[in-house]
């Protein structure tokens, strides 16, 4: 790891000023940044430790029933907050299907949004990577592409965003509060991460010096609490990043879906909201054939990279399954053990 200057600002203004300098990086839990520094992938000349800033560590219930989650709230504390898990169960489930207990104890909300891709070539300084070194080329293109993005990829980059947490946040219309030298602004979580296009080195809308203050969920997101799940498929049954994942949330009244929400993980450089699939659900009776149609719509624009077409079919099945789980109802005990893609689907044969 390179040597660096370590600063611990006492106020937000100091943090923003210190973080705007060239070569500076914000440090929160450190669970992603320190690994990148050990590998020489990130070489910041200054670390600006945010963890002692006042006012960023609270989970606050909003006046109309939404929630505001401070950027420094630990992933574990959020998942285990009883009121939060009751009202936003799919978010708690997604948090608990990511990383491990010790990592969730250190990892923060802001850091989770900002975590870097897990593309293996990005982690290998000997490989060409446009994200690490703009214009260098993309070793993944002609290399091992099994896990590459099937939606929104570009010639320059085919990496995916690795966060589980962001997937239900995208489905539930979360908003990111951002602070910078010019004041504060808000961006929908759906628009916070950028698709790679010709500039894969730019991953979010944050400008240098800007930091995440909080993530908000609107009151309307809690209306899905009785039918909201997160389902993650990995290459082993625990402790791995998603091959594909899906958050599904339904509002069911008098036996019909009033409103449905779907977002996918592991398929693109950002959490992927599937609005076209949501439209398929509206006003319909929740049943397997409908869920399969919604899943087809969710992946309608997906394109394989190399031979990873299998991911598209897996993503369809995970969407259909997540919808079936959501229709069957949120588990009574919260936060639940994360759903298994291998358990039988309620109300249907295995598969």
């Amino acid at each position: 790891m390179n040597l660096f200057e370590y600063v611990r600002p006492a106020s937000l203004a100091e943090a923003i000023a210190a973080g705007a300098a060239p070569g500076a990086a914000f440090l929160a839990g450190g669970t992603n940044l320190l690994d990148l520094m050990k590998g020489g992938i990130a070489r910041p000349s200054r670390l600006v430790d945010l963890t002692r800033l006042p006012g960023l560590g609270a989970i606050e219930r909003g006046p109309e029933g939404g929630v505001r989650i401070g950027a420094l709230v630990r992933n574990a504390d959020l998942a285990h907050d009883p009121d939060f898990a009751q009202r936003f169960p799919a978010v708690a489930e997604a948090l608990l299907s990511g990383a491990s207990a010790q990592l969730r104890n250190a990892a923060t909300v802001g850091g989770n949004l900002m975590q870097r891709t897990r593309c293996a070539y990005f982690y290998d300084p000997a490989s060409a990577c446009n994200k690490r070194d703009a214009g260098a080329g993309c070793a993944a293109r002609g290399g091992e592409r099994r896990l590459a993005a099937v939606l929104g990829a570009s010639e320059q980059c085919i990496a995916t965003h690795a966060s589980d947490f962001c997937v239900p946040l995208a489905a539930l219309d979360a908003v990111v509060e951002i602070a910078g030298a010019a004041g504060t602004r808000e961006v929908a979580l759906e628009d916070f991460h950028l698709l790679p296009g010709a500039t894969p080195e730019r991953e979010s809308v944050l400008a240098p010096g800007e930091l995440i203050l909080a993530v908000r969920l609107p009151a309307a997101a809690a209306a899905f609490a009785r039918h909201a799940r997160y389902l993650k498929l990995r290459e082993r049954t625990s402790y791995a990043f998603a091959v594909v994942s899906a958050a599904a949330a339904l509002r069911i009244e008098a036996g019909a879906i009033v409103e449905g929400r779907i977002a996918l993980g592991g398929v693109a450089a950002k959490p992927w909201r599937a609005r076209g699939a949501e439209a398929v659900l509206s006003g319909q009776k929740p049943e397997r054939a409908l869920f399969r149609r919604a899943a087809e719509a969710a992946l309608a624009e997906a394109r394989p990279v190399g031979d990873n077409g299998f991911k598209i079919e897996l993503a369809r099945r995970i969407v259909a399954r997540a919808l079936a789980l959501a229709a069957a109802g949120t588990p009574a005990r919260l936060p639940a053990l994360p759903a298994s893609p291998f358990a039988p689907v309620p109300g249907g044969p295995h598969g």
């Binding site: 790891m1 390179n2 040597l3 660096f4 200057e5 370590y6 440090l27 450190g30 669970t31 320190l34 690994d35 520094m37 050990k38 590998g39 670390l47 430790d49 963890t51 574990a76 285990h80 608990l96 990383a99 491990s100 207990a101 010790q102 990592l103 104890n105 250190a106 625990s238 402790y239 053990l337 994360p338």
Partner: protein, 163 residues
Amino acid sequence: MPQVSLTVNGKRHTVEVETRTLLVELLREKLGLTGTHVGCDTSQCGACVVHVDGTSVKSCTFLAVQADGASVTTIEGLAAADGTLHPMQAAFREHHALQCGFCTPGMVMSAIDLVNSHKERMSEAEIRHGLEGNLCRCTGYHNIVKAVAAAQEVMHGRAQAAE
């Protein structure tokens, strides 16, 4: 060089470190507490787990400067002064939950945090999920899960410690 003041296993220390010094390096190299192991050095395996202010973290992905002012507990801080083992240590011995022992300090520290944060009895599935951040290449996990299941009864006052 920055100074870090922290409490480790109940004892205050003030140590000079480089900014890039990891907590596990501070513990092993500056304080001689080599019970905390380094397996992967990339936050995967869990051999380096210690408690910082009562919760488990991977000390290979935690800067020493981040622990400034904190209270740290390592495997060396668990047994009583007279040598009486912590109920989790006793359960690991009783249930043969270790073979080579490399993963054991991290496994024990993770298991204690897991039990502390689950007052209700955990099922086998919950224990397995709770320990997913700790890799063991010897035991096949089976006896570790049994040890944790037994220790939770003792730690929550539902049974007596193993002799």
